[in-house]
């Protein structure tokens, strides 16, 4: 046991870069800023180690060398100005010495100018929304770990609680600016490998940026306690080569245009129900539960809900505009008209709610435009 600890200490000391993989240290990350931060962290760590050795070494040496049993007598004096000045000046110099490189890194970290791509990141209870500004591409990113794994009915997957349905896709070697805000409470968008951990605050827009050096999948989590499902809103970033990113973005733009055209056409009930079920499972089921049974009193049941069944306009209004003073958010800007129409149609025809109602995307678009 003792030799194992010793080996670990030696291997930690021998190589700083190895420390990142064993999980004992912060990651070096994949951006210039993250490796700067790692370098600062290690520099300051070693400064602390040296100070600790000197201070505790001197203390333990004095305790041992001048112990009572050897007849040591305490010196009684009131002040010693030159020693006091010395032990005040040395920490000042050390602190200033550490502040110089840290200031340079901090300034670089907050300089989000000259970005080639702007991404708006919005925190919501409990998912992230990404919007590629000026590109007409936007989507929400929901945790894709099944609830059965969380409740223990199924064995946990490799990326348990750290997997999403739609990751944020970013190009490598391009400076990407993040504009970060929230729709409800304070969240925090945190990806250790990108060295970004920024609060998203309702009514404020925080800025941050990355320039990723290596393609890969980088995972993170919400880092600000934001409610019951705080642990269930992970962040996944796919960093891809520039050409691959351009291709992906063009594809998504085209899909968004297709979707916009879908608003005008007449949808069949089956299509809407099918689409609505997937929207329901990713967005609504965390509160209203998988079978629409809800979790009263905070989250009312949707199955066999009299008011919902009797009044389609009331139902649609709740989804589009939310319920003020309650947990139900407005989905008018989070979901598109097709998704809203689909999920309303689905909930009106699932779990015994046999209304037979079909809400068309065009009607939703009209309601939102009002």
């Amino acid at each position: 046991m003792r030799s194992r600890w010793w080996l670990m200490a030696v291997s930690l000391a021998a190589s700083g870069s190895q420390a990142q993989t064993n999980g004992w240290n912060m990651p070096v990350g994949v951006t210039d800023v993250s490796s700067d931060i790692y370098g600062l962290h290690m520099t300051i760590f070693w400064i602390c180690v040296v100070i600790g050795l000197v201070v505790f070494g001197a203390m333990f040496y004095s305790l041992f060398r001048y112990r009572h049993s050897k007849g040591a007598k305490a010196a009684h004096f009131h002040e010693h100005t030159s020693v006091e000045v010395l032990w005040t000046a040395i920490p000042i110099l050390i602190l200033v010495g550490m502040a110089v490189p840290a200031t340079a890194t901090l300034k670089n970290m907050y300089d989000s100018s000259d970005a080639e791509l702007d991404v708006m990141i919005t925190g919501q209870q409990w998912r992230w929304r990404y919007e590629y500004l000026g590109e007409d591409v936007a989507f929400t990113s929901n945790m894709s770990t099944p609830r059965t794994q969380i409740s223990g009915e199924e064995t946990r997957g490799e990326h348990y609680l750290l997997e999403v349905d739609e990751p944020l896709v970013l190009p490598i070697n391009r400076k990407v600016r993040f504009l970060m805000t929230s729709d409800d409470v304070i969240h925090s968008w945190w990806v250790p490998d990108l060295a970004v951990k920024q609060d998203t605050i309702p009514g404020f827009i925080n800025e941050n940026w990355v320039k990723i050096n290596e393609p890969g999948i980088y995972r993170g989590q919400c880092a600000e306690l934001c409610g019951i499902d705080h642990g269930f809103m992970p962040v996944v970033v796919h960093a891809v080569e520039e050409e691959e990113f351009d291709g992906w973005l063009a594809e998504r733009k085209e899909a968004a245009e297709q979707e916009a055209m879908g608003v005008d056409r007449e949808w069949a009930m089956d299509e809407l129900v099918e689409r609505g079920e997937s929207v329901y499972q990713s967005i609504c089921s965390s509160c209203h539960q998988a079978e629409g049974q809800g979790s009263p009193p905070a989250f009312p049941a949707l199955a066999n809900n009299e008011q919902l069944i009797n009044d389609v306009d009331w139902h649609l209004d709740r989804v589009v505009n939310g319920v003020s003073g309650a947990a139900m958010p407005a989905f008018r800007s989070t979901l598109n008209p097709v998704e809203i129409a689909a999920v309303v149609t689905y909930t009106r025809n699932a779990w015994g709610n046999d209304t037979g109602d079909v809400v068309q995307p065009s009607a939703v678009a009209e309601l939102i435009a009002q």
């Binding site: 009131h78 002040e79 000045v85 005040t88 000046a89 200033v96 502040a99 110089v100 200031t103 300034k107």
Partner: protein, 57 residues
């Protein structure tokens, strides 16, 4: 004058000998210490600003 500056610098550092402290309290006008204190604090702030600008390049 030099004695006042020295006392203010000692206060900034937080270290002063008891003998000097008693001297300061028995002679000199308080206003001189206030004014010198404000001026030296401003100089200290400016020094930090320049240091930060230098560090950030």
């Amino acid at each position: 004058m030099w004695s006042v500056v020295k006392s203010v610098l000692a206060a900034l550092l937080g270290v002063q000998s008891n003998q000097k402290r008693e001297e300061d309290f028995s002679s000199g006008r308080p206003a001189a210490y206030f004014v010198t204190g404000v001026v030296i604090t401003l100089l200290f702030v400016l020094m930090l600003v320049f240091l930060a600008m230098f560090a950030a390049r």
